[in-house]
């Protein structure tokens, strides 16, 4: 009986994501064998540009999430800690550093270049510098000023980032003997835009009651948008996903049978604790919106390829003003008919967690939306107190049930 219910919790298309991820990593080794340059990137680096240059991008953050989901993170975390990296540092960074320090014979081939942009995350630059020190691969650090208003972005910041993208191209051409062609970037920008369009279209179906796509799906299916942008494979995946979700929505089929509460989840998922999503779902609560799911979905304009990519570097993730982020957050409450919010205060991600108390106040005082705030870590299972968190979830759902 439980296996049948279990099946209904994940979409058929989502079941293919594991294979897609493994294929992506194994192709990285193929690329390496063929002599193609391989870049370790942070997840808000313009993948489109690298793909146009024929540089193969892989993201240690994604690797960290995946290791954690498969119960493999601890070895790498401990490896980094053995070297002296503090447990208070971001767990993705510890996982990536631990991997780099332990021979790099697993999923990620050693990098030929380390590329990061100073956007979204306050750890990136120091992390990439550490990798550079340990591995010796050349380091490129792009600078993306914090976006206070979207007008500023148009007025003066955009040119600054475009120039850096041009510089990155020049470095890649000189270092690896590659040749950049604008026509190729245009094609890749079109593919990337298409994938984002498909994903955003898919997410809109979560406005349906019952919601046809659950938290496990959204947390898993985001991956092609992060590192596979500009590939046909990503498009095929999102087309299939959209078709499945559309059909489910039309049949009024929810990801759970008896939908009682529609929840917002704020934060990066706790990758080692997917069963927590099931815990909510078993109690009739379904996640219908997460800011995280929209973080990489960015529409691009193929008529201005470089500007468009620069704009994405600036406006993705946490690089925009908190007021703009909160605005989007609040819009979603109406759009998705949200009953309650679950805020995950992530020990690893201060940039994400710091504004949560402000958001929580607005939610409860202005919108009368109950919230649950709990603390743990996204990839380090040692920071997770399961019984304590489930205790809070029970209380939270009882409060929702009494309203």
């Amino acid at each position: 009986m439980s296996s049948q219910r279990e099946r209904s919790r994940v979409l058929q298309t989502t079941r293919k994501i594991g294979e897609l991820i493994m294929e992506y990593f194994s192709k990285a080794w193929d690329a390496k064998a063929q002599g193609k340059p391989l870049a370790w990137i942070t997840v808000f680096t313009p993948v489109e540009l690298l793909r146009a240059l024929d540089i193969y991008p892989i993201a240690p953050e994604h690797f960290g999430a995946m290791c954690s989901a498969r119960g493999l993170a601890l070895d790498y975390l401990e490896e980094a800690e053995k070297t002296g990296y503090s447990q208070n540092l971001c767990s993705y960074s510890r996982c990536g550093l631990g991997y780099a320090l332990s021979g790099m014979s697993g999923l990620m081939p050693p990098p030929d270049i380390l590329i990061t942009f100073r956007n979204s995350c306050d750890v990136y630059v120091k992390w990439w510098q550490s990798l550079h020190m340990h591995l010796g691969a050349p380091l490129f650090v792009g600078e993306a000023p914090y976006v206070l208003t979207l007008e500023d972005l148009d007025n003066y910041v955009l040119d600054y980032v475009v120039k850096q993208l041009e510089q990155l191209v020049k470095i890649a051409e000189e270092k690896f003997g590659l040749r950049f062609e604008m026509e190729r970037l245009v094609e890749i920008v079109k593919l990337s835009d298409k994938a984002s369009e498909l994903w955003l279209e898919t997410l809109k179906f979560r406005r349906f009651k019952p919601c046809p796509l659950g938290g496990r799906d959204s947390a898993s299916d985001i991956f092609p948008l992060v590192v596979m942008q500009g590939t046909d494979q990503a498009i095929r995946f999102y087309e299939e996903l959209l078709a499945e979700v559309k059909e489910k929505a039309n049949k009024r089929e929810g990801i759970i049978e008896d939908e009682k509460f529609r929840l917002l989840f704020d934060g990066i998922w706790l990758w080692y604790a997917f069963d927590l999503i099931k815990y909510f779902e078993d109690r009739g609560a379904v996640f219908v919106y997460e800011p995280y799911s929209e973080a990489w979905a960015y529409r691009l304009d193929a008529s201005k390829p470089l500007e468009s990519v620069a704009r994405k570097v600036l406006a993705m993730g946490l690089n925009v003003d908190i007021d703009l982020r909160i605005e989007r957050f609040l819009e979603s409450i109406k759009e998705y008919q949200i009953d309650g919010a679950v805020l995950f205060s992530n020990r690893s991600c201060k940039s994400w967690s710091a504004p949560q108390l402000v958001t929580a106040d607005i939610l409860s005082k202005k919108f009368n939306i109950p919230y649950l705030l709990f603390e743990a870590d996204m990839a380090d299972p040692r920071q997770y107190a399961e019984a304590q968190i489930k205790n809070r979830i029970d209380a939270f759902l009882e409060v929702l049930g009494e309203r």
Binding site: L357, Q388, E398, V399, E402
Partner: protein
């Protein structure tokens, strides 16, 4: 008769009530590592002292950390149980501050005892009974002695660390530097009160306020926290059983609900 069992991180409480929601009997035992055994033990003792047996029990609701491991017909969260229990005892209470062995929480309720908002401590044990237990072991003083010595202090020292482990070493260094033990103990109570105060401030201190949970048996803690919030709380006679009492009230409701559906 109806039973509420609160299988807490540190103590397990069983409360027996009659159909009029009056407490007939209760008992408190250490939880140990086996919630099933501790809950059965607490219930057996409560039954014995009231001359009842298991056949008198119509419905049992469990709550607390070990709620799923206890032999009960249904479970409920501590937040709901505490609110029910407090509302029944003190209808005028709007804010509950509950400090248990591993958790501390502040709950805001309305005039019907409905939960409006709640906050709980983060993963850290600094603002819980565990903090006082550790310090009581370190100092070799019982929890009762701690409370008694608190009131003897004239100039409490300031514990700066919020971490239980660091605070423990801080305390040892204060004592080795010649601080009076009562001043150190007063400092500890103020540290825990400070922690609870800042957590609870997120939901505010709308009157009346009550303190519940095992730590609310400690008069030093009550005094330190009352001073922080600036007024005196309404205190239950036995603050440790309020959650189990609320679970017993839930048992009445559940039983009556089942009967009317039958």
């Amino acid at each position: 008769m109806y039973v509420g069992i609160d299988a807490g991180a540190s103590a397990t409480k069983a409360v027996i009530v009659n159909k009029d929601a009056e407490i007939v009997s209760y008992d408190i035992v250490p939880s140990g590592i086996n919630f099933r055994a501790s809950s059965e033990g607490a219930l057996r003792k409560a039954l014995e002292s009231s001359g009842l047996d298991l056949t008198n029990i119509l419905y049992t609701v469990s709550t607390g950390y070990g709620r799923a491991l206890v032999n009960a017909k249904s479970t409920s969260s501590e937040i709901t149980c505490i609110s029910r229990g407090v509302h029944r005892l003190f209808p005028s209470v709007r804010t509950i501050i509950d400090v248990g062995g591993q958790d501390s929480k502040a709950v805001k309720i309305d005039g019907n005892g409905r939960v409006l908002d709640f906050v709980m401590n983060d993963k850290c044990a600094a603002g819980t009974g565990r903090f006082l237990e550790v310090m009581s072991n370190t100092l070799g003083k019982s929890l009762d002695e701690l409370s008694r010595l608190y009131f003897k202090s004239s100039k409490p020292i300031k514990i700066s660390s919020t971490c239980t482990v660091f605070a423990e070493s801080e305390l040892i260094s204060f004592i080795s530097q010649g601080s009076e033990i009562e001043d150190v103990i007063a400092g500890l109570h103020e540290a825990i009160a400070e922690r609870i105060y800042s957590m609870s401030s997120r939901i505010g201190f709308e009157k009346d306020v009550t303190f519940t949970g095992g730590v609310a048996k400690n008069h030093g803690f009550i005094d330190a926290l009352s001073k922080k919030i600036g007024f005196n709380p309404t205190l239950p006679e036995e603050p440790q059983i309020i959650c189990a009492f609320g679970a017993a009230l839930a048992a009445i409701k559940k039983y009556e609900g089942n009967v009317s559906h039958a």
